[in-house]
């Protein structure tokens, strides 16, 4: 600054600054633009790579095992060349169904409570609690299920182990709560207030308004929340594996050892040689999971479109 005030040394005159600013090159921008775009394209490449890398061994399996023998085969005995995954698929569906049966009503109630009934103070307790529920690692869910829930079921059912779909369904039901509650709450809150007031002004009770106006109007969003919960449940691995008992047979009851696609993959992926049919079968199971998950995402997108279309129609 002192040099400027003395005026002896050459200082940048406003005109000189202007020349410098105007002449400045801006090539760095193009590089950054390229990097941003590359990052976005990386996402596309990733999902494509996953499909290829999971799909390739799966296709190798189908050269040896017919797809229907894989999908609908009831016996999983790689040592005898039998690669039927129906027991695992059935286990996955049953465990997911149980999860929805348990987590669905509980989650919907939680969402209604948060969106329509809870005082601000109760919300301040409930919201962090649900976030904590989401933050608990799945192995910890599995560990609590294994050390508390399974023995509890054993004691009260008279079964030998207590492992099975009941335990898995309860654990999964709790695990899907955070996903389901937060999305269902959003859907309930998205219902325009004027409809709610319109119902209350007709002399209906709070609950009549919730049950007959708000929930029906929010239904597509609630369904989307349910599907995302479903996707979370069917892909869940560790917790399920720890409480399911891991028996590769089609489950015949709720408290008998069973298996799912995910639990079977995690059990065997370290112990089968790469390129062996047994190893390829695990990838085929992974592909099945991947396709189911992608199918569920497509379903969610469809319900969301319906939801937004419904709201637009109403206004």
């Amino acid at each position: 600054m002192s040099r400027v005030s003395t005026g002896r040394t050459a200082v940048a005159t406003p005109a000189a600054v202007r020349t410098r600013i105007r002449g400045r090159r801006r090539d760095a921008g193009a590089i950054w633009r390229g990097l941003f775009f590359a990052s976005a394209i990386f996402l596309v490449i990733s999902i494509a790579a996953i499909m290829v890398m999971i799909g390739r061994p799966a296709i190798a399996l189908f050269a040896q095992v017919r797809p229907w023998a894989f999908l609908f085969g009831r016996v999983w005995a790689p040592e005898h060349g039998l690669y039927g995954v129906l027991p695992f698929f059935a286990g996955s569906l049953a465990a997911t169904g149980m999860a929805l049966l348990i987590g669905g009503p509980l989650g919907l109630a939680g969402a209604i409570y948060l969106a329509k009934l809870a005082t601000p103070r109760a919300q301040r307790v409930m919201r962090p609690a649900i976030q904590l529920l989401a933050g608990i690692p799945s192995v910890v869910y599995g560990w609590v299920g294994l050390t508390a829930l399974v023995p509890f079921i054993r004691r009260h059912s008279g079964h030998v182990t207590g492992f099975g779909l009941l335990a898995a369904g309860i654990v999964l039901g709790v695990m899907v709560l955070p996903t389901f509650i937060s999305l269902a709450e959003d859907a309930l809150r998205a219902v325009p207030q004027d409809i709610e007031h319109g119902s209350l002004a007709l002399g209906t009770t709070r609950w009549q308004t919730i049950a007959h106006v708000i929930i029906p109007a929010a239904w597509p969003g609630i369904a989307a929340a349910g599907i995302l919960g479903l996707a979370r449940a069917i892909g869940e691995t560790m917790a399920v594996q720890m409480v399911l008992g891991n028996s590769p047979v089609i489950p015949t009851g709720l408290i008998v050892p069973a298996s799912t696609l995910t639990s079977e993959i995690v059990l065997e992926m370290g112990s089968t040689p790469q390129g062996s049919p047994a190893n390829n079968a695990l990838f085929a199971m992974g592909l099945l999971l991947l396709l189911v998950s992608l199918g569920l995402i497509v379903a969610v997108r469809a319900t969301r479109r319906e939801a937004t279309a419904g709201v637009r129609e109403a206004h």
């Binding site: 004027d194 409809i195 007031h197 319109g198 119902s199 002399g203 009770t205 007959h212 029906p216 109403a314």
Partner: protein
């Protein structure tokens, strides 16, 4: 209530056909300035509403005559909608609202203060229905919208519900337009039809009083005309309170007009008197278009 008054609405020409020849005077003029006011269906005494620290309305005293239309007018923000929502306690759905004073509603033959402790809001809103500024049909079919109220209030008989739906839709002058598509979604109706559907929905609960908060604010002139016609017919059976931003509308549809300004009731009188010979200077300024 005299028979003369009751036959009036049918004599009023539809508003959209009214020429520029002072439509303000049609209904009010026919009624005559000196008619005794019918006995009130609602009496409001010293009513004040505050939102948090801001005052909504203060110290309002007003009688709402039975089976007639009372219009609430005034510039926006004057408290007329707040006053309206105080009559069925809808204000309480907004956080931080406090109400004092009395609102006496004719209730099973006697006047009941709706702010007295123990008053059942559900029962209140069955008696005092409401139509909102913007049509707010439920995302259901036309007929389901209409029978929503009766069904919630315990009517299960299908024939009875169908009858109630037809009656309410006829009263709302919508029946002829929708009778062939009762199961179509309400959202498929035009804005004006939707608003008449909302009126039918409110009428199906068989209220004594119907509150209307600028019911034509979002509608085109033709739909507005239809609803104004309707108001005249409905006032044979219902006590109607309507908030309006349009003096012409107040003149066309109401027997009594109340003028609000800055949260206070400035003046309330038969509509013709309000339009032609207001007592208060501020009312005069407003009706002559000097402000607002």
């Amino acid at each position: 209530m005299t028979t003369e008054t009751m036959s009036l609405p049918t004599m009023v020409p539809p508003a959209r056909e009214a020429t520029s020849a002072a439509p303000e005077t049609t209904r009010a003029a026919a009624r005559g300035e000196t008619d005794p006011e019918p006995q009130p269906a609602v009496r409001v005494r010293d009513l004040s509403v505050t939102y948090g620290t801001t005052l909504g309305i203060k110290g309002v005293d007003l009688d709402l005559p039975e089976r007639s239309v009372t219009a609430l007018i005034g510039p926006s923000g004057c408290g007329k909608s707040t006053f309206l929502r105080a009559l069925n306690r809808m204000n309480e759905l907004f956080p931080g609202v406090a109400t004092s004073g009395e609102v006496l509603v004719r209730w099973d033959g006697r006047f009941q203060d709706i702010y007295a402790p123990g008053v059942d809001l559900v029962e209140l809103r069955k008696r005092v229905g409401m139509v909102f500024q913007r049509p707010n049909p439920f995302p259901k079919s036309i007929v389901e919208n209409v029978i929503y109220g009766p069904r919630r209030h315990g009517v299960t008989d299908r024939a009875l519900l169908a009858e109630a739906a037809e009656e309410a839709l006829r009263q709302a002058a919508l029946w002829d337009e929708v009778k062939d598509k009762l199961n179509a979604p309400a959202a498929a109706l035009s804005g004006g039809q939707q608003q008449r559907l909302c009126i039918a929905r409110a009428l199906a609960v068989r209220p004594d009083v119907v509150l209307m908060d600028e019911p034509t604010a979002s509608l085109d002139p033709i739909s507005t005309g239809k609803i104004e016609d309707l108001l005249g017919k409905l006032s044979k059976d219902y006590t109607i309170v309507i908030v309006t931003h349009s003096l012409q509308q107040a003149a066309r549809v109401s027997e009594k007009t109340a003028f609000f300004l800055n949260g206070e009731l400035v003046e309330a009188a038969p509509t013709l008197q309000m339009m032609t010979n207001p007592r208060d200077r501020r009312t005069e300024n407003y009706v002559t278009g000097r402000f607002g």
